[in-house]
Assembly symmetry: C2
Homo-oligomer: 193 residues x 2
DNA sequence: TAGCTTACTTACTAGTAGGTAAGTAAGTCA
DNA sequence: TGACTTACTTACCTACTAGTAAGTAAGCTA
């Protein structure tokens, strides 16, 4: 096995990279083992060696995506102190994904939710929980410091923020028009400040 | 052929009813001819008699859904005069769909956009155009009458309204929690009035 | 160096996908 | 009454789906 810290990227990692992009563009039901295997230049059986089933590949995909998101939120917490700026930085994560002509992985999987294996459903819900909890914290901070306002509970307001960003992403990607997400973000921030 | 105005619903109509529900729940790529045919009690070949290809069935689906939406908007225009109440009635359409545990047909298809046949892509875009245009009119009316306010163009604000409702629907359906859509609607209306 | 592990390939399976050709029963119409 | 149309069914096709069994080359390890 190759060392983790050298320049060579393992087959499993490359499979996750390719599968992630394909799922973000086409959806989980629009991607096959053959699609992923062909693109990284191995057989389907090699993919099954690393991920026993498509459900397992899907779980690994969501796990890695969620971990990366969590790291990005942590990074914001360390870089930014101002609550409104944190929300703005949060929206920038979404915008960066959209600029690659991709939908949020978990937003896409939310659409296909009813067709997903149960472990994948739980993993998707965990992703949204993580985001809600982090946003809730920022909204509480902002309200305390007088830089953010919202009606109802902070949890509720956090859910509305996520809904707006995911929806704007969905529609903006279809039109290949990131400006729509920027407009929604602007209105969201205006409403909260 | 059965008369259009008697109680018997044609096979084509029943196929559209079933396919619509299945696509709203599972997505276009999560539904097969066999699924639809089995549920209405005919063979796949009978379905192919009415809709030559899956793409054609999809187009018919979007066409009927868009026409029904257009009729609902027309109905609002005749029933309601107050602009904020029109927006509220508009949001109720979405809520009624969500209460059946369904996603907006075209919101679902927006997620799968990249995998759809080109004629279906165009039909989905037309659905959103129709909605944007109607909302734009209501927002202009509200601004003129002093009952609604929005920053930027009315068209832009209309896009944000649709994005928010579609996104809230996506997330709320996953959680089986229509309250999330109601919360997003509430915040949207607060922002506009 | 013998045995084991890793990371595959080749060749296959059963099931499902969309789609089609040919036939048929029932009804319409000149 | 014979030709035609509608609304199907049966039986099939090819392509693709996820998944598997068996084999192999390379490297690591006692």
């Amino acid at each position: 096995m190759k060392a983790v810290d050298d320049a060579v990227i393992s087959t499993a990692e490359r499979a996750l990279d390719v599968a992630e992009r394909l799922v973000q563009v086409r959806g989980f039901n629009g991607v096959s083992y053959a699609d992923v295997a062909t693109e990284i230049g191995v057989t389907k059986a090699a993919l099954h060696y690393h991920f026993a089933s498509k459900a397992e590949l899907g779980e690994a995909l969501i796990g890695r995506y969620t971990a990366r998101f969590a790291a990005a939120l942590d990074d914001i917490d360390h870089r930014v102190t101002d609550a409104p700026e944190k929300i703005s930085a949060y929206a920038t994560i979404y915008l960066d994904v959209l600029r690659q002509q991709r939908m949020c992985l978990c937003g896409m999987l939310a659409a296909e939710y009813q067709t997903l294996p149960v472990p994948m459903q739980h993993a998707v819900v965990r992703f949204f929980d993580l985001n809600e909890t982090w946003l809730e914290g920022v909204l509480v901070q902002g309200r305390r410091e007088g830089t953010l306002r919202h009606c109802g509970s902070a949890r509720n307001a956090a859910q509305v923020v996520i809904s707006t960003l995911e929806g704007a992403m969905l529609v903006a990607r279809m039109h290949d028009d990131p400006a729509r997400l920027e407009a929604a973000t602007g209105q969201l921030l205006a409403e909260l400040t």
